[in-house]
């Protein structure tokens, strides 16, 4: 197992490199440049000198090598749009915000979602089950950019209980609405996954054997049902955690939170290459780490998977359920 982890960690570097190459190339291949919006207003000579200052007229491969060189020194480059900010600064200020909102939403998702899913599975086809499943269906169907404004409308405008936007230094009142809006689809999805997985596990032959042994139900559930049940849950959580930690673009935009998700979209629209690359790298690192964690946890949950870890061609991280960003 240890060998497997090391091997995976070693793989991270080339993958990261491939990601950086791909993203860099895509960014530079797309039409338009960082100063296009201002071109109309500025003297072409001024634009020229700005571009020269950032080396934007050099061939792409040279720009790339320069960028790589900077990376190896831990320098993510300057923001092209916000000329007095470095990318590392932007990320350093934005990341804690995105992570706080994201992880809080995940925590709620886990507690509420898994809890409801278990409750629904244990009382299959009962009233509780139908309510939970209906609510879950709703939570999954309504996108965040619909629920967020609605929440603001209700709690911010009509009831006036909570501020309608802004970070406010991260106090609870400002956190509440964005976290709830972000958490809703997670709660719903986790509830559905948990319920489905639990029902499937409860109907297996080996659970029947466990009951035939006279084990009390809570023992049956904790010893024989919990682990297989967690596999799809973990599959979902892995990529989802990586995604929320890099900031939900919609939530940050609607609530005016200065996280890195918003920085990312701004950067992409404005062709602020270094900022975009910075966020991409952060995301890629998160995803790699989380995928590895997920695979390690799989190995713990199901020893049969552990066996296949000796064979490098098995792509176990592929058991995930799409990405969601």
């Amino acid at each position: 197992m240890g060998l497997y982890v090391l091997r995976r960690l070693a793989l991270t570097v080339p993958i990261l490199f491939a990601v950086i190459v791909l993203s860099f190339w895509l960014m530079h291949v797309a039409p338009g440049g960082p100063f296009d919006a201002e071109l109309i207003d500025l003297d072409p000579k001024v634009v020229e000198s700005i571009r020269a200052a950032y080396d934007l007229d050099a061939p792409v491969w040279k720009q790339f090598l320069d960028y790589l060189g900077g990376l190896l020194h831990g320098d993510l480059g300057p923001s092209l749009i916000y000329s007095d900010l470095r990318v590392s600064q932007i990320i350093a200020t934005g990341l804690p915000i995105s992570v706080t909102v994201g992880l809080s939403a995940i925590a709620i998702g886990i507690a509420l979602g898994i809890g409801c899913g278990i409750a629904a599975a244990l009382r299959q086809n009962s009233f509780v089950d139908y309510i939970v499943m209906a609510a879950a269906m709703t939570g999954v169907a309504i996108p965040t950019f619909v629920t967020a404004p609605l929440l603001i409308l209700l709690f911010g405008l009509y009831l006036g209980w909570l501020p309608i936007s802004g970070w406010g230094g991260g106090d609870l009142r400002h956190l509440l609405l964005p976290v709830i809006a972000l958490a809703l689809p997670k709660v719903a999805t986790l509830a559905r996954i948990t319920r489905g997985a639990m029902l499937e596990a409860l109907n297996t032959d080996y659970v029947r054997t466990a009951r035939a042994k006279g084990l009390r139900e809570w023992k049956v559930v904790t010893r024989h049902v919990l682990r297989p049940m967690l596999i799809p849950v973990v599959s979902y959580l892995g990529p989802t955690i990586a995604t929320v930690m890099t900031g939900s673009v919609v939530i940050e935009t609607i609530f005016g939170l200065p996280g890195i998700g918003r920085a990312f979209v701004e950067g992409a629209s404005n062709r602020d290459y270094p900022v975009v690359m910075g966020v991409v790298i952060v995301y890629a690192v998160f995803i790699q780490i989380l995928n590895l964690l997920v695979d390690v946890i799989y190995g713990y949950l199901d020893p049969r998977i552990r066996q296949s870890y000796g064979r490098p061609e098995m792509s176990t991280a592929g058991a995930g359920i799409g990405r969601g960003k």
Partner: protein
């Protein structure tokens, strides 16, 4: 071989007929299906024969809530344009993009996955590694770049989104293909010298269709959402086109004064999502041999 393929076809027909039957008794799924059909009908018809056009400005009735006046059943927006018609136009765009995007993703994903799964070994390993790398890049990033590269042209947006969403489909198809190629009848087919393309078409594809169909039904709403997402951020379809995403974004801006501008397209979007989800669940239950 002829006998086997015809019996496979017979088996196939009865599985489908059985699935169709099971789907048809699922009331939620059938209701959803009809709602989508009606919605599609409205989206096609209303913009042509509706009471107003997309851009007509009703100077006397700017920003009014839903009313019977002048047939502004959904009210008007800040520019005096009728919301009912605009919502239907939005339906056209959103639904079309959703379906077309899914089609693109389907074609790319199934081809990629079938090839990877069929050939297995190194080919498969390499192809899956490439997907792993792509997965490490945020979807939104890829979409935004592609959209910028191809422009906001309505027709090309769905290629951009589809080109990003195909990966999970490829994984599903590849998994199924890998499982099938282990079966004994595959060895027989290869031993008989059947060309790879024939094997793919006759054996692998029919068996892959089940999970693919279910995922496709769920992919359509996902793609509608992605497009709405983009439009919401201002990166999707541009004027004069409008989609539910844009309408919602505009509605959110006017939320205090005119909540209906937000609520109505949001309601339609939500309803559509619900329906597709129910249909997806219904299909999955109908095709599931365990009949849960």
């Amino acid at each position: 071989m002829a006998a086997e393929s015809s019996s496979a076809n017979r088996l196939g027909t009865s599985i489908w007929r059985d699935a169709i039957y099971r789907f048809s008794v699922n009331r939620a799924a059938m209701l959803s299906f009809w709602i989508i059909i009606i919605l599609t009908g409205m989206a096609i018809v209303i913009p042509i024969w509706g009471p107003h056009t997309l851009d007509a400005v009703d100077w006397d009735r700017i920003l009014i809530p839903p009313t019977f006046e002048n047939q502004h059943w959904f009210g008007t927006d800040a520019n005096g344009r009728d919301m009912f018609v605009r919502t239907m136009y939005g339906a056209r765009i959103s639904l079309t993009i959703g379906v077309l995007t899914t089609l693109v993703a389907l074609i790319i994903g199934v081809t990629y996955g079938a090839i990877a799964g069929y050939f297995g070994g190194r080919v498969d390993a390499v192809m899956m590694r490439m997907i792993d790398v792509l997965y490490a890049v945020p979807t939104l990033f890829l979409v935004i770049i592609l959209v910028s590269a191809f422009g906001n042209n309505f027709l090309l947006i769905f290629i951009s989104i589809g080109a990003v969403e195909w990966m999970t489909l490829a994984r599903i198809v590849r998994g199924q293909a890998l499982a099938i190629r282990q079966k004994e009848y595959m060895e027989a087919a290869r031993a008989l010298g059947l060309p790879a393309s024939r094997i793919l078409m006759q054996y692998i594809l029919p068996n892959v269709i089940g999970p693919v169909v279910v995922y496709v039904t769920l992919l359509i709403p996902i793609n509608i959402i992605v497009e709405s997402y983009l439009s919401f951020l201002g990166l999707g379809v541009q004027e004069p086109f409008t989609s539910w995403g844009r309408l919602i974004a505009q509605g959110a801006a006017e939320m205090e004064a005119a909540p209906w501008l937000l609520l109505i397209p949001a309601a339609f979007l939500t309803l559509t999502m619900f329906c597709f989800n129910f249909m997806g669940d219904g299909l999955r239950d109908a095709l599931d041999p365990k009949n849960r």
